[in-house]
Symmetry: C2
Subunit: 313 residues, 2 copies
């Protein structure tokens, strides 16, 4: 076969990539714009931020007007974003169980669990069910539902567990749960708990996950429940290490070398972020490190008010 | 705006995803099939493996006949795949410089450098140029070329340096260098040196990179110069660690929970793999760990013959 024909074929592949990109932009913009026009002003603000960060995601709508004006209305959004499910020496969700109970309150009777981040969904649901039942809540796993979208539409609270973030996000797309969960959390105000990978997908993108890309999701854009990124399981550089792979700090700094990238809140194990409407507070026993493009990083203790990150665009 | 219209929009997005997937399958299969029909029988075998592993990549051609029959002809392929550019306590490429000189030999006068994995391409090229000139070779950086594809077509040898694997792979796609490098290495037999991210992209996919997904490449499929994956900078589990994030071993095991995933050769820092045609040999001062789906992992010292991995499909 001639080399000319081979080149023509490679060019066709490039052309098709361009066409796909244009179609994606149209579809993505349309889908999220409409979702946001259905939601609170906060969701609209979130959407603008998603566009701002889109250069590192799958879809890159250009010429989009990005507004920095903060909304004066509060959203119903309620999130508990946990760095890690298990703290060294403790049991599953043990280190944050009091926060979970306080967060869910007495109105919630059953929690919808999303086990997509691990391969063994039955076993994972069993572990989560045992824990939530011990705290006084029933637990349904979305993988057992005949219609996952309806399960989300009818739930009282959502808990997305940890594992592999790429696998989790791909399954959320495959099951068409992204718009369903966004609507449920941002419009209906049901409580959302995320742990590790479940915290990653609650943010604007999964660009700052620590996980291995074992599968290829259709985009790195995630639920966008907050307009910034989180790096869970944050690890400080080890001055004694002889390993030459990049430190976590170097990796996040590399992310901010890319244009229009949002802040990254790096939360250490033992740390969690509580978001109630437009208020965000750091909880737990360890601190967080905030990385912002073009600014020096800063260190923050539990109790710190991160509400300003919710207004980021 | 009505919820019905919102749902219809989400369904349109799903339908479009399906359409894109079909177009991608067609384009990808066509592009690589033709590339392979232009290449040696080995390249054809590589392509079959790529299809086998495609469930974790962007494109998933189904109903493709996968052959296990090894080719009896050898390919011209010559690769030196290095785990890490710098070993603790040493200078840039110092630990493997003798291997590089022996590998390039006396016929090669100039090396084409690909600096895409780091943001500061000028600085990166300067460091690489200094090193290669100290070894007796001229160095041109592809980012300085007016036409990167032509620079590849005219080069005597290629060196792809480390950094962020996602950024590197995306830039290779953006500059249309994937088919150009494949042709140059698999057909023309020019020497290919990869280090860290440059080693990742030489393999079938970047599914087993350690890097943060700071950008979104159009696929995780890479150059496919060998029909398996590599995990560079391999780190053994640390029994004393209190960190609860997954170990490297757990991450690679999660990859093999996915169907049709190829072997992963995990090479420790200080380790490199020499591929000459259909022969692959482990070099360096540390060992490698081989992960295969459904099999026990195995430990291998420098000098080990990994040629059987080249016949994998």
């Amino acid at each position: 076969m001639s080399h000319g024909f081979y080149s023509a074929c490679a060019e066709f592949h490039l052309w098709l990539s361009w066409l796909i990109s244009v179609l994606c932009k149209f579809s993505y913009t349309m889908c999220y714009s409409l979702a946001d026009s259905d939601c609170s002003p906060e969701a609209g603000r979130t959407s603008l931020s998603r566009r701002g960060a889109s250069k590192t995601g799958s879809f890159k709508p250009k010429n989009t007007i990005v507004s920095n004006s903060p909304s004066t209305m509060t959203t119903k959004r309620r999130l508990l974003l946990i760095s890690n499910s298990t703290l060294h020496g403790g049991g599953y969700l043990e280190h944050c169980q009091e926060h979970i109970v306080k967060f869910l309150g007495k109105q919630v009777k059953r929690v919808l669990f999303v086990p997509y981040a691990l391969h063994g969904r039955d076993d994972y649901a069993k572990i989560a069910r045992q824990k939530f039942e011990s705290l006084g809540y029933g637990l349904d796993s979305v993988h057992e539902a005949e219609n996952p979208v309806e399960a989300v539409q009818n739930c009282q609270a959502i808990f997305i567990g940890g594992g592999n973030t790429f696998r989790l996000l791909k399954a959320l797309y495959d099951n068409n749960l992204i718009p369903a969960i966004r609507k449920k959390v941002l419009e209906d105000g049901i409580p959302y708990i995320g742990s590790s990978a479940g915290t990653n997908v609650a943010t604007i993108t999964i660009n700052t996950t620590n996980d291995m890309p074992i599968v290829y999701p259709p985009s790195l854009h995630a639920l966008g429940l907050v307009p910034f990124n989180i790096n869970p399981h944050y690890l400080d550089p080890d001055a004694n290490s002889k390993h030459m792979g990049e430190t976590r700090e170097q990796r996040i700094t590399q992310y901010h070398e890319e244009q229009d990238t949002p802040p990254v809140l790096a939360i250490r194990e033992g740390c969690l972020l509580l978001v109630e409407g437009d208020k965000a507070t750091l909880l737990g026993v360890t601190g967080a490190r905030l990385f912002q493009r073009g600014k020096a990083t800063s260190e923050h203790d539990p109790g710190h008010d991160f509400s300003f990150l919710l207004a980021h665009s």
